[in-house]
């Protein structure tokens, strides 16, 4: 977290903002995987982040996958190419989409620029941003109370919606959107780093 603290007061660089957003995504996704019971609860360990204890997967392959995807996302965040990230939860047996978590990104214009290199910087206080992120993460945990039980073996996948003018890196491929038949949607809180604004929406199948 310390890397996001900037030299001048109340300033946050584009890179710092991207780091915050990817951190949020990482812990948000880990939380969802745990809360929704996609993987056995034994394979998670508790860590302290944003003033919350968050359960993070200890499975090497999951972590490898997440760090690869989130690393790429961070790059696209700095370049302003990312539009949306979707976490899809599908039924393993019949490939039906059970749940979709949308992390929608908006780029916020800022007037401030860094004195050194002229890059845009945000003016929001880090404390405030972290509090906002904490509130969303809390809300993700509390969704357990109303989301339907995933009573089948499930798998998850991440879909990344980007601007059309990007180069598709190695090991990446294009795919189609995932829809849920007969779904209900719920918007969670959003947070903003004053450079990026993130809305979290969960859509789930109605029984």
């Amino acid at each position: 977290m310390s890397s996001t603290v900037q030299k001048s007061k109340n300033a946050i660089t584009l890179k710092g903002s991207a780091k915050l957003v990817t951190d949020y995504l990482n812990y948000g996704i880990n939380s969802i995987l745990f809360q929704r019971g996609i993987y056995p609860s034994e394979s998670f360990k508790s860590e302290e982040h944003f003033g919350l204890s968050i359960l993070v997967s200890t499975d090497e392959k999951i972590n490898e996958f997440l760090s690869a995807v989130l690393g790429q996302i961070k790059e696209w965040l700095v370049q302003g190419k990312l539009e949306k990230l979707s976490l899809i939860i599908t039924n393993v047996t019949n490939k039906e989409v059970m749940e979709r978590w949308d992390f929608k990104l908006k780029y916020e214009a800022t007037k401030e620029t860094s004195e050194e290199n002229g890059e845009p910087i945000g003016t929001k206080e880090l404390k405030v941003i972290q509090n906002e992120i904490r509130d969303v993460l809390r809300q993700i945990c509390s969704t357990v109370s109303f989301l339907p039980l995933l009573d089948c073996p499930c798998a998850f996948d991440l879909l990344i919606y980007t601007k059309p003018d990007i180069e598709v890196p190695d090991q990446w491929g294009e795919t189609g959107p995932c829809f849920i038949a007969n779904s209900e949607e719920l918007q969670l809180r959003s947070f903003s780093t004053s450079l990026h604004r993130m809305d979290t929406v969960v859509s789930y199948k109605v029984e």
């Binding site: 999951i62 996958f65 790429q72 039980l149 499930c154 491929g173």
Partner: protein
């Protein structure tokens, strides 16, 4: 192409317009396209003539509609003023739309808006400027056999409620079926009820299927000679029935097509217990041998263990497929793990003083097992197989032949032998009696629960099968109560043969 129009009869509206001499057209574009010479030649009428309709009513506000008809612009009650409407333009516009639709290009603006809104809602943004990417190395799937442990947190409807102590439990069976010739042997398992509401009952050497929904009965098979059926078990999904025989063979039957799929050997003595864990069928033999069969493979025997020193009479896989419980005539209760070493039990419970036949896994607490002992023991004991702890026990004062957990209430029901031959409903975890259901004139041999969780089937040594509607959810009980009372005396007697 234009000729027929001019030669043809003049349309009614044109005639009228001509008669009244007020028709006007100032759109040359329209005229050229329609090419109606009659209209073209007409001189435009005075502009003020259009004002007349508004003038007339103002002069005579209460004049009858009949008078209005005489106004020079000749409106009718549907279109008060024809002169004000530009018929040619309208006609042109109509034609133009038609031709566009023929080309398949025409979409009304509202429709385009609607489509856009739909895609925006579905995809989140205008799809035109987006690419959807995925990382091709996928995250691993959850480990095999993993079950969402959050079931406990979520399923309010499925997790039995602790309250409603005062619910109505019918004291008489809902239905009685005849089961002639059912083998009176404590060590066998002769009834099973599957998810598709099909009940299988073994009556000595034949197996009958009773469709609990429609009430239809069919004979699945009949064994030859002195061979008789010792155990039955439905696969969790689908209509696959495993039958264990006294000669030590296992037959796999497809109940939907009424055809035998295969026969598997591997036992030297009768097979008194069977249990499925997806495609693995575990069978317990009189010799104490426990064999796991993979029914898909030609070499079906994947593991055999000397599990007990005497006959295995109880065998149950837990609903999550994690543990197998086996109870034997050697008074032992063994818990086997599904992963790892199949040859050594993780727990061996020796608390029972008699054969352990009645076994049931708690549907809402993973790893919790209820077991009941025979005549010398008479106890129901609850075990936590995750830790190996004995959690509760109760003396039932009678041989325990079968246990079934309710899926609607936090209760379990047990079937008993001498002296009362009754069924007892127990509250869990207090293990207090909720109700006793008596009716069988000989010991209750086997118990099974209906797929909807409302009805318990008990097979007695008195050659009857009784269906008890003892787990009807509270809201329904209120409705059912007055209906079921009068029917208590009118048992629907129905022979299974």
């Amino acid at each position: 192409m234009d000729d027929p129009l001019t030669k043809g009869p003049v349309p009614r509206w044109q005639k009228r317009a001509l008669d009244k001499n007020t028709s006007a057209s100032n759109s040359s574009l329209v005229n050229s396209s329609i090419n109606n010479s009659k209209i073209k030649t007409k001189t435009p009428s005075k502009a003020d003539s259009r004002k007349t309709p508004s003038k007339t009513p103002s002069k005579t506000p209460k004049s009858s509609p009949g008078k209005n008809l005489k106004t020079p612009n000749g409106g009718d009650r549907f279109i008060p003023s024809r002169s004000a409407t530009d018929m040619d333009l309208g006609y042109f516009k109509l034609n133009q739309r038609d031709s566009d639709e023929e080309n398949g290009e025409y979409k009304s603006p509202s429709k385009i808006q609607m489509e856009k809104a739909m895609t925006e809602n579905l995809i989140g943004k205008d799809p035109s400027g987006m690419r959807i990417l995925e990382f091709q190395k996928k995250a691993p799937a959850a480990p095999e056999g993993f079950q969402n442990s959050l079931k406990v947190v979520y399923s309010q409807s499925k997790t039995p409620s602790a309250k409603s102590n005062s619910r109505y439990i019918p004291q008489a069976p809902d239905r009685i079926l005849d089961a002639p010739d059912i083998v009176d042997d404590y060590y066998l398992n002769l009834v099973d009820w599957n998810k598709n509401n099909m009940m299988a009952v073994a009556l000595r050497n034949s197996v009958y299927l009773w469709n609990a929904g429609s009430g239809s009965i069919s004979q699945l098979t009949e064994l030859e000679g002195s061979d008789y059926v010792c155990s039955l078990s439905w696969m969790d999904e689908g209509d696959i029935l495993a039958i264990g025989t006294s000669l030590g063979n296992i037959q796999i039957w497809d109940a939907a097509s009424m055809k035998k799929q295969r026969t598997m050997d591997g036992h030297a003595a009768r097979i008194g217990s069977l249990s499925w864990n997806s495609y693995i069928l575990s069978s317990g033999c009189r010799s104490g041998l426990l064999v796991h069969h993979d029914v898909r493979q030609r070499e079906h025997n994947i593991s055999s263990v000397e599990a007990h020193s005497q006959e295995i009479c109880g065998l149950k896989w837990s609903p999550d497929g994690k543990y197998l419980a086996s109870g034997g005539n050697d008074n032992a209760l063994n818990i086997w793990p599904s992963d790892g070493d199949l040859s050594t039990p993780i727990h061996t419970f020796r608390a029972h003083q008699a054969a352990v036949k009645a076994l049931a896994w708690c549907p809402w607490h993973a790893g919790h097992l209820a077991s009941g002992g025979g005549t010398a023991d008479r106890h129901i004991r609850i075990w936590n197989c995750n830790t190996g702890a004995a959690t509760y026990s109760v003396d039932t004062r009678s041989q325990v032949c079968g246990i079934v957990w309710s899926t609607t209430f936090k209760e379990l029901i047990s079937g008993h032998g001498y002296a009362q031959n009754q069924l007892i409903i127990w509250k869990y975890p207090t293990m207090t009696k909720v109700a006793e259901l008596s009716g069988h004139s000989a010991r209750v041999l086997h118990l099974a629960l209906s797929p909807d969780g409302t009805t318990v089937l008990s097979a007695g040594a008195d050659e009857t099968l009784r269906l008890w509607k003892c787990f009807v959810p509270a809201a329904k009980t209120k409705k059912d109560a007055p209906e079921s009372k009068p029917s208590d005396n009118l048992f629907t007697m129905k022979g299974i043969r």
